[in-house]
């Protein structure tokens, strides 16, 4: 009553995306950096939020965190939607791309000299 969290009071809570489940379905372990691809057509019988997520990733790939931001949902709720779609084969989930390691300068120089030696 005294601490409104944003311009509009929340009317639709995010937990609706769980459909009453405690854990997201399926074998995929989704976290906020998992990458989502559209894999197949949208199966029937899913809610509007599934369609929205699928539409979001259809042009390309998005991480769960990005998709959550677009849907204006918490990541934890978006995970449930993505897992539903992945279960039905409409989405592919890829593990997060590991962050790039610093290049070994010595190795690079040796490679460069080796290439030059090929000429």
């Amino acid at each position: 009553m005294t601490t409104p969290s944003g311009p509009r009071r929340r009317l639709v809570p995010a937990y609706l995306a769980t459909q009453g489940r405690e854990l997201a379905p399926g074998r995929h372990s989704l976290d906020r950096l998992s990458i989502l691809h559209a894999a197949a057509d949208l199966p029937a019988g899913l809610g509007g939020e599934h369609r929205q997520l699928w539409e979001l990733v259809r042009p390309g790939a998005l991480t769960v965190a990005e998709a959550a931001a677009h849907l204006r949902l918490p990541v934890s709720a978006t995970v449930f939607i993505a897992a539903d779609l992945a279960e039905r084969g409409a989405l592919k989930v890829r593990a997060p791309i590991p962050s790039a390691q610093p290049v070994n300068r010595d190795l690079a120089e040796r490679l460069l000299s080796g290439l030059r030696a090929l000429k």
Binding site: M1, T2, T3, P4, S5, R8, R9, R10, L11, V12, P13, A14, Y15, L16, A17, T18, Q19, G20, E22, L23, A24, D31, R32, H37, A38, G47, G48, E49, R51, Q52, E55, R58, P59, G60, A61, L62, H70, L71, R72, L73, P74, V75, S76, A77, V79, F80
Partner: protein, 486 residues
């Protein structure tokens, strides 16, 4: 005469004998005779006197006798009178006996009526205060000139019922006040918990936070219902809220929310409930959905349809549960119309507060609700929102991703020759009415144009950086069906 004879005899003797002596003797005799005569005279007078006296006494006796006769007569008369009075007394005694018998009968009847009042009529009348269908018996006998008695008994009954009602009001008001105080504090705290949970959900991805949020929302709904019942306000204010979001918000407050299927048939997706009624409508709808899920099998669906009529909006909730008996439906109808008095003491144990809450909110905020047997087999509840409670929200404010989109809006079709995209229905779900159903799109920035521009940008960016095997859709810019993301 005797004296003369004696004197002659004495003279003869005097002549015939010693006359002197004879004379003296005669004289003595005469004197004696005179004396005797005098005595005789005296005695005669005395006798006369006595005779007179006797005569007087005789007269007196006569008088006395007459008096006595009179008295006797009077006594006779009195005796007769006394006899008459005795007779009259007998008669009146018999009459009195008869009256006493009648009085005894009436007394017995009055006692019977009093016992009947105490044991039958009063308990029934007090029960009828809480259960209006309870028959209240009348007096045992209604004939026989006992109107006064019945009037008095009826007055007693009325006074007793009035006293019970007053006491019940007082008790209920006290209970409401206590409840109001507790509910408002708990409600404020739960709303703070909700805000905190919402903040934490943005940074912590643990799904248990979602479960916690749900439990909190369930608790909040209970407390809100109690607050409304206790005469408090709904506890929070909202801005104009889209009806679709309100329905989903209400869905989220119900334990079996996953069984609830909401279909949005609105012609205008931005149709919203005015700020003053937004939260009350959400509470009422949550109570309707709570009833629907509580009284139907856990594996059946609860079907919700959001409709836009010509003079307002409707939310129709059908369950496939056990339904309601006709008298339950009638009682519920009274509660929903606001006709039935709502008392905390009559909500049962555990309290069946749902319909009472809805009825109170309907009356206070000007919307309506009714229940009827559902074609699905259970109960159909219809929430009516009149046009004066409806408005349109700002098109720039996005709808929640979890709110259902109108199913009448199918995939947008872009006209090749038209600069502005226009949305067309493939098949109107409802026959076209007089009202202009496709709203003319205003010039300038529209959601459609904003979306297509944004989608083109997004798809271009994504197409450039994503793997080439995922080609964008054939129509170029992504045109999601009904998705409203500016």
């Amino acid at each position: 005469m005797v004296v003369i004879v004696l004197a002659l005899l004495a003279g003869a003797a005097l002549t015939a004998g010693p006359l002197l002596w004879a004379l003296r003797r005669a004289a003595r005799s005469t004197r004696a005779a005179e004396q005797r005569a005098a005595e005789a005279d005296l005695s005669a007078r005395a006798a006369a006197a006595r005779s007179d006296a006797a005569e007087q006494r005789g007269r007196a006796a006569d008088a006395a006798a007459r008096t006595a006769q009179d008295r006797a007569d009077a006594a006779d008369a009195r005796a007769e009178a006394a006899e008459e009075r005795t007779h009259a007394a007998d008669t009146s005694a018999r009459t009195a006996d008869a009256h006493r018998t009648v009085a005894d009968v009436r007394y017995a009847a009055a006692v019977r009526e009093l016992v009947h009042l105490a044991h039958e009529r009063l308990p029934a009348a007090t029960t009828a205060l809480t259960h209006p269908r309870t028959p209240v018996p009348g007096p045992l006998e209604t004939t026989g000139g006992t109107e006064e008695l019945h009037h008095a008994l009826d007055s007693t009954l009325t006074a007793a019922v009035r006293a019970v009602l007053a006491e019940r009001e007082r008790t209920d008001a006290a209970a409401r006040a206590a409840l109001r105080g507790a509910a408002s504090k708990i409600q404020a705290l739960l709303i703070q918990v909700r805000s905190l949970l919402e903040e934490i959900q943005l940074s912590v991805d643990d799904p248990r936070l979602l479960a916690l949020d749900f439990r909190n929302e369930l608790t909040l709904r209970r407390v809100q219902a109690l607050a409304v019942l206790s005469g408090s306000w709904p506890g929070m204010t909202r801005e104009d809220s889209p009806l679709a979001e309100l329905c989903v918000g209400a869905q989220s407050r119900v334990a079996g929310y996953a069984r609830i299927e909401i279909t949005n048939h609105l012609r205008e997706p931005r149709l919203a409930v005015a700020a003053r009624a937004a939260e009350p409508v959400a509470i009422a709808l949550a109570e309707i959905l709570g009833n629907a899920t509580a009284y139907s099998h856990p594996e059946t669906r609860v079907v919700v349809s959001i409709e836009q009529g010509s003079s307002g909006a409707l939310v129709v909730v059908d369950d496939m549960g056990v339904g309601m008996e006709p008298d339950q439906l009638e009682r519920t109808g009274d509660l929903l119309d606001g006709q039935a008095e709502v008392l905390l003491t009559e909500l049962g144990d555990p309290p069946q507060a749902g319909f009472a809450v809805i009825g109170l909110l309907c009356r206070q905020f000007g919307f309506g609700c009714r229940v009827e047997p559902s074609p699905y087999g259970g109960v159909r509840a219809i929430l009516r929102l009149p046009a004066d409670l409806l408005t349109l929200t700002d098109p720039a404010a996005p709808l929640s991703a979890l709110a259902p989109r109108p199913i009448t809006q199918t995939t947008p079709v872009f006209d090749a020759g038209d600069a502005l995209p226009t949305r067309k229905r493939r098949s109107p779900r409802v026959p076209q009415q007089d009202a202009p159903s496709p709203l003319p799109s205003p010039a300038g920035s529209t959601p459609d144009r904003a979306r297509s521009a944004w989608s083109a940008l997004q798809s271009g960016t994504l197409a450039g950086r994503s793997a080439a095997h995922q080609s964008p859709g054939p129509e170029g810019p992504a045109a999601p069906e009904g998705v409203e993301i500016p």
